[in-house]
Structures are given as structure tokens and as C-alpha cells.
Amino acid sequence: MVDVAANVIEIIAKKLPPDKRNIQMTDRLDEIGIDSFGAVEMIFDLEEKFDIQIPYNANDARMEFETVGEVVNAIKKHIGQR
């Protein structure tokens, strides 16, 4: 079974400076430095990695994912791994 959490953390960590890469599942994306367009890039990387489509519009005020753990859970849902 794919280790979704490890893959998600690796994808997010690449977007952060080396000293900020110790990411926890409870970390909020905006607080660790992923802004709205950082999120767009992250979603592209996740779609490529897991061969899925994630509906996401940068204009939605409601962020579907706020924490690293929520991203992991959303990906698991998309690939049918609960």
C-alpha cells in the first residue's frame, strides 16, 4: 500500500526552506508558508504523483485542506484508501 502521508510530506517539504521541513500532520499549510499559489503547485504535484484529479479553485474562500493531515486524508479518499 502506498504510504500517502510520506509522499504528501515529501511534496510539501520540497516547497519549504530546508530548516522548515520538519512537518507535522497537525501543521496548518498557511502557517508553514504554503500560500494559495503554493497550494496550486502542491495540488498539481499530488495529482501527478497519485494520478488523480482534485477539484480546486484558488478563488474559493473555503480552503478544502487547512492542515497537512487534511491533505493526506483527502488524497486517501481520492485513491480509495481509507
Binding site: 494559495s36 499559489f37 479553485n57 484558488a58 478563488n59
Partner: protein, 404 residues
């Protein structure tokens, strides 16, 4: 010596009108040009709506033999320029052609040509491409084609600054005419970007609306890609008066700035500096302005940031401003947007009517200025601004005055 710079001709090709006159009548009535795309297949597009120049027939404007080197973007530019020049009544003989500038804004050049050729090469394994691919797609083609087809031999070039391209172009033309460097300029912008590869690129950026464009409204979902062209003829006041030309309006100021911040997220400070530069260049106080033709893309970030920038610049007077976004009707024509919107701004001043921001569902607390929701408003406008703010943080603002 600084010359006054007046507008004596305008030409428009848009999703809501193929001439300046029909464009204005549609703006005033709040006609929406946004609809499902017909130029590209939509089955693989997540957002299927665009604002196309509908029922455009190249054969009405060009002979068959003229068409091979003309991408749709250059055709649009030439059609709008011909209309503007015809309206101005100018003839370019007697040495005027050599002293007339042609400065056009364009974001991406012949994007359909580029897309078609990549498809042929990589998708269909073509062995060769049409010999005119390069001159047809080059970003300067719209200015080159206007200069050749209209016989304009003075300074000519294209300005590319994404969504601010044609505001930068008109601003430079304004400065050249004001300084006396040329007595006449043909200036504006053109864009034709509704090609499959381009649309997929926009889709990837996750900023497109799937329904329609709702600037400053609650539940706005983003921008809608559009195409079109608008061109104006600028002249020194002396030159226009000497030939008894009808004067349509006056441009008085131009301001520019760069955010030097984020590639995509707009910056209220950068917008404010461009707005203040345009006011100062036009010797206008903030309180002189009654109407702002907003950049108003319909994205969450732009509309909120533009609201902040206007409030910072205008202070308590911001509450008295009327601002509206033409993009609610014509979508975002990128490199042509600034020119289409400057023409609308000049017409608003002349006609005493602020066009509406249509598709408005209700207030967003982050966009709490008066955006003339859904219905045009008759009002006296003595001076107005036209805002353009590009990806890459490049801002350009023009100031216009009622001619008197």
C-alpha cells in the same frame, strides 16, 4: 512643451460588439458576452466559458490572399485600427505617416498559430510547418500588420505586460504625443488566446470561473478568458483643432509601478502607487475623480486588493466613487483588456453613464465600494481612471478627463 492629448477615433472588436458603437450600446445595457467556447473543444476543459468575438468573419475584412500571414490576433488589431482611423478622419499623406506612432499591447502574439503548429508537429507527427509560422505568431505582429495595412511609418512596436499590456501601450503613446515627439499615435491592444493549449494552461492556474465573471460580488469564482481588440487615435489638441476633428475625450495622466513582490498575488501598495502616479501625472486630486473603470477580474484576490488600494488612495472619498468592471460583460481579454476598458472609460465620461458590473449576486464585505451592480447609472463624470494590474506585479493606470 507639453501638449494636451485628445482622442479622435476609436475602434473595437469584442464579444459584445464588432464596432465601437455596438460595444458601447451593449456595455450600457449590461449585455454579457460570456458563453461556452466554440473555438476549442470543451470536453476536456474544466471551465468551458469564455468571451469570444462571435460570428467574426475574416473574409468581411480581408482578401483571401491577405490572410495567410495574419493570425486572428493581428486581424483583430487591424480591424479595430481601421475603424479608429476612419472615425478620426485622418489621412496620413503629406509626411504625417512618418510622424504617426503605432503602439499596441499584446500579451501572447499569435497563440492559435503556435498551438495549431505544436499540435501538428507533436500530435500529428507533421514533417513540416507552414513557412509563415514565425512571422504570424511573433508578438509584434499586431503592430507590424497595422503599420503595413494602414501605411503608418513612424515609431511602431508592441508592448507585452500580460493583463496590463495595452494600458502600458496607450500610456507610452500618450507620453510621446504629449511630449511632441509625434503629433499622432494609433494605439491600443489586441489578444486572441482561446486555443486549447492556452486554455489548459489557464485551467492549471486554478483561477478560472466555471460559471461566469462576477467582479466584486460574493461567490465570485474567478476570471473568464476573452479575446478582442480596441484601438484609439491620439492627437495633440492643436493637430486635432487644425483639421476641425471631432474630439471624443482627453487623456491627462499615466502612472506605472511594479509590485516587486509575488508573481501572482496582487499587492495593494503597488496598485496604489500606480493610481497615485496617474493622478499626479494628470494634475488631478483624488477628489476630482468620480468614476473608476476597475481592473476587476472577478478573482478573490484581485477584487479585494483593488478595493483596498482604492480605499488607501481615496480615503473617505472612496465611498463616493462609482467603480465598475467591464470584465463582467466582456471577460478578461488580457493584453487587449486595458484598451477595451480605456475606450469604455472615455465613452462613460462622454455619455455621462457608468456601465454596470453585471452578474452581481450580493455584497462581499471585502469589496465594500460601490461597483454599480447590475444596472448602468447615469452620472456626470468629469474625470475617471482606468486600472490594469498584470500577473508579474506590473501595474498601469490611465487618467481621462471630460474634454472642455
Amino acid at each position: 512643451m507639453a501638449h494636451r492629448v485628445v482622442v479622435t477615433g476609436w475602434g473595437v472588436l469584442s464579444s459584445i460588439g464588432h464596432t465601437a458603437e455596438t460595444y458601447w450600446s451593449s456595455l450600457a445595457r449590461g449585455v454579457c458576452g460570456i458563453a461556452p467556447a466554440t473555438l476549442v473543444p470543451t470536453d476536456q476543459l474544466a471551465q468551458k466559458v469564455v468571451a469570444e468575438v462571435k460570428d467574426y468573419d475574416p473574409n468581411k475584412h480581408f482578401e483571401q490572399r491577405q490572410l495567410p500571414p495574419l493570425d486572428r490576433v493581428s486581424q483583430f488589431a487591424v480591424v479595430a485600427a481601421r475603424e479608429a482611423i476612419a472615425q478620426s478622419g485622418l489621412s496620413f499623406d503629406g509626411g504625417l505617416a512618418e510622424r504617426t506612432a503605432t503602439i499596441i499591447g499584446c500579451g501572447g502574439g499569435g497563440q492559435s498559430t503556435q498551438d495549431d503548429n505544436y499540435k501538428r508537429l507533436y500530435g500529428e507527427n507533421a514533417k513540416r510547418l507552414h513557412p509563415l509560422v514565425i512571422p504570424k505568431q511573433m508578438v509584434n505582429a499586431p503592430a507590424s500588420q497595422i503599420s503595413m495595412m494602414c501605411g503608418l511609418r513612424g515609431p511602431a512596436f508592441v508592448v507585452a505586460s500580460a493583463c496590463a499590456s495595452s494600458t502600458h501601450a496607450i500610456g507610452l503613446a500618450f507620453q510621446m504625443v504629449r511630449s511632441g515627439s509625434v503629433p499622432v499615435a494609433v494605439t491600443g491592444g489586441a489578444e486572441s488566446c482561446i486555443a486549447f493549449g492556452v486554455m489548459k494552461g489557464w485551467e492549471a492556474l486554478r483561477v478560472l470561473a466555471s460559471d461566469t465573471c462576477r467582479p466584486f460580488s460574493r461567490d465570485r469564482k474567478g476570471l473568464v478568458i476573452a479575446e478582442g481588440a480596441a484601438v484609439v487615435v491620439l492627437e495633440t489638441l492643436e493637430h486635432a483643432r487644425a483639421r476641425s476633428a471631432e474630439i471624443l475625450g482627453e487623456i491627462v495622466g499615466f502612472g506605472m509601478s511594479a509590485d516587486a513582490a509575488d508573481l501572482l498575488s496582487p499587492d495593494a501598495g503597488g496598485m496604489q502607487r500606480a493610481i497615485e502616479a496617474a493622478l499626479s501625472d494628470g494634475a488631478l486630486a483624488a477628489s476630482d475623480i468620480q468614476y473608476v473603470n476597475a481592473h476587476g477580474t472577478g478573482t478573490a484576490a484581485n477584487d479585494q486588493t483593488e478595493t483596498q488600494a482604492l480605499k488607501r488612495t481615496f480615503g473617505p472619498d472612496a465611498a463616493k466613487l462609482a467603480l465598475s468592471s467591464n470584465k463582467s460583460m466582456i471577460g478578461h481579454a488580457l493584453g487587449a483588456a486595458g484598451a477595451l476598458e480605456l475606450v469604455a472609460t472615455l465613452m462613460s465620461v462622454r455619455e455621462g453613464l457608468a456601465p454596470p458590473t453585471i452578474n452581481y449576486l450580493g455584497p462581499d464585505p471585502a469589496c465594500d465600494l460601490d461597483c454599480v451592480p447590475n444596472e448602468a447609472r447615469p452620472m456626470r463624470i468629469d474625470a475617471a481612471l482606468s486600472n490594469s494590474f498584470a500577473f508579474g506585479g506590473l501595474n498601469a493606470v490611465l487618467a481621462v478627463r471630460r474634454f472642455q
